[in-house]
């Protein structure tokens, strides 16, 4: 992995970003909107992958980090009248702080216990959103008006409800997080995270404080997932409790498994794939969830390491 020329790796990632940029100009309206959504949610998947793929910690509670960003940003706009940039930062900060607290508590456990503990915390978070319905809008959620989603830069308004602006904003966030994760997994820190996944005891005996490293990974993962949630609230103008439900804790796991855990581009591919399979099948049958399920089972049977993970194993060993 580390022997591959970094130039090839960076060229691939920049190429993917360039392709997504070009797609904005050729995609029909409907697909342009879908792609913006997929890119924003792929950020969620990338944040999840950092913890699950690279550190090997399987959380079933990441919906809480996504919705910490979603509500952190959304409520700041809705109740406090904050501008878009400040609200985005608030959302990310909420997610990072929550991840720090959850990490300190949940990292006392591992394996199945870690899954259950994270799931329970997420459930508490979900119930809190419903309980404080006066502020959060409860299960109805809140709609953030178009006027609140405009950034004024030197007199030129930057309207996040405009399809192209929205697409480019989602792409910008996606690109930054993609390049950040690439840098992290190629860094010394990334090497330690993988070592923890492979053998935590051995990693300790090489002088590493594995708990501190895992905590840093939880916080980074939580902050990235919150960035996705904050962007989602600001780009699509809706903040709802369904995003905090258990379904949104399982979705990023599926996206990452599909695309390939511990691959930098797998989360995008998994999110894209799942979105389109759902979208296409729901168009002609109401039993689309069944078809999605069958597609998932087939994929796991034939590509147990996910789409990109299998490609790496069979053909492109240098993929990060």
């Amino acid at each position: 992995m580390r022997d591959a020329s970094p130039a090839k790796t960076y060229a691939l990632h920049v190429g993917v970003i360039a392709l997504l940029f070009a797609l904005n100009f050729v995609l029909p309206d409907y697909h342009q909107g879908l792609f913006a959504r997929i890119m924003a949610l792929a950020v969620f998947a990338m944040g999840y992958n950092l913890l699950f793929g690279y550190v090997g910690l399987l959380s079933l509670g990441h919906a809480m980090f996504f919705s910490a960003g979603l509500y952190g940003a959304g409520l700041a706009v809705y109740h406090l009248g904050w501008g878009v940039p400040a609200a985005f930062v608030a959302g990310v900060a909420c997610g990072a702080l929550l991840a720090l607290v959850i990490g300190l508590l949940a990292l006392r456990t591992s394996g199945v216990a870690f899954m259950i503990v994270t799931m329970m915390f997420a459930q508490v978070f979900y119930l809190l959103i419903l309980y404080f319905a006066a502020w959060t809008g409860g299960d109805q959620g809140l709609v953030i008006q178009q006027a609140s989603r405009v950034i004024a830069i030197g007199g030129a308004p930057f309207d996040l409800t405009d399809p192209t602006v929205r697409y480019m904003s989602a792409l910008a966030l996606f690109s930054i997080i993609l390049l950040v994760t690439l840098a992290v997994v190629r860094s010394r820190f990334g090497r330690v995270l993988v070592a923890i996944r492979e053998n935590e005891e051995r990693t300790k005996m090489l002088g590493y404080d594995t708990l501190a490293n895992k905590l840093a990974a939880v916080v980074a993962s939580g902050a990235i997932c919150a960035a996705s949630g904050a962007a989602y609230a600001l780009l699509f103008g809706y903040v709802g409790s369904s995003f905090a439900s258990v379904q949104y804790s399982i979705l990023p796991l599926l996206w990452v498994l599909l695309g390939g855990a511990a691959t930098t581009l797998g989360p995008l591919i998994g999110t894209l794939f799942m979105y389109y399979v759902t979208d296409i099948t729901s168009g002609f049958t109401s039993a689309y969830l069944l078809i999605v399920g069958v597609a998932l089972i087939l994929l796991v049977l034939f590509f147990p390491k996910g789409i990109l993970g299998s490609i790496r194993e069979r053909w492109l060993r240098w993929l990060p």
């Binding site: 022997d3 010394r188 090497r191 051995r202 990693t203 002088g207 404080d209």
Partner: protein
């Protein structure tokens, strides 16, 4: 001269079993010390207490004048106590390069070495004769090479005390000769504590030998003294070579 490492009344019980039982032990800087003793004598448990991998039931460990009894293992490593496992535990899914990069970058982060990760890794791999295997997954190396990789990882930690738990187990005779010269070389800048069953290796390498039996030190001395010790012959040497 002050010992590099001492233990006082060091004990570890597993239920009713006294795996290590009130051991007083001292190790001088620069020496090569071998620990021998029958299976189940408590050798691995004893060195695990030194490395911090397991906690003592009672007693104390002093390294370089400081009480490290309560110090977690990863901090002891940063002080210079390196431990290589009896059961090979290299990172099978990582390349040999990445296996050694982990300890190298640790010493760089701690400011105990300078330079590039790559050059540090290649130096450790060259010293153990694994340089041409840098890109191979550790799990695909032969068993002997995995043992050597384990030593390379220990070396790369720039230890002041290197603890090797049965490092020659499973090595071919030709590999053992290389190993003996490697340990001699390591001992030029580190103290070596070596658990070893292969008596010719012990006799060639050790400055002093400590014999364990039933969690206690049965005898200690130079190789000649140990060879002449009748108690040791009864408990151990006689049993394996008789």
């Amino acid at each position: 001269m002050m010992p590099l490492l001492t233990t006082k009344g060091l004990s570890r019980h597993f239920g009713g079993l006294r795996a290590v039982d009130g051991v007083d032990f001292a190790l001088m800087p620069g020496e090569i010390r071998a620990i021998i003793g029958p299976n189940g004598a408590g050798k691995t448990t004893f060195v695990s207490l030194l490395s911090g991998r397991i906690r003592p039931s009672s007693g104390m460990v002093v390294f370089d004048g400081a009480d490290i009894t309560a110090m977690p293992a990863y901090k002891r490593v940063r002080l210079g106590v390196a431990y290589t496992f009896q059961i090979t535990s290299v990172f099978a899914n990582l390349t040999a390069f990445d296996n050694v990069a982990l300890p190298v970058q640790r010493t760089l982060t701690d400011g105990r070495t300078r330079g590039q990760v790559r050059s540090g890794v290649m130096a450790a791999l060259e010293r153990t004769g694994l340089a041409d295997r840098a890109g191979t997954l550790a799990g695909q190396l032969s068993y002997g090479h995995q043992r050597l990789l384990e030593v390379a990882m220990g070396l790369a930690l720039k230890p002041r005390l290197l603890i090797l738990d049965e490092p020659t187990q499973g090595l071919a005779d030709s590999e053992i000769d290389n190993f003996i010269s490697l340990v001699r070389e390591i001992a030029r800048d580190a103290t070596v504590l070596l658990i070893e069953h292969n008596m010719p290796v012990v006799m060639q390498l050790a400055d002093r030998i400590t014999v364990f039996n039933s969690g206690k030190i049965l005898a200690e001395g130079t190789p000649e003294q140990i060879r002449a010790n009748t108690q040791v012959q009864d408990a151990y040497l006689g049993a394996t070579h008789g």
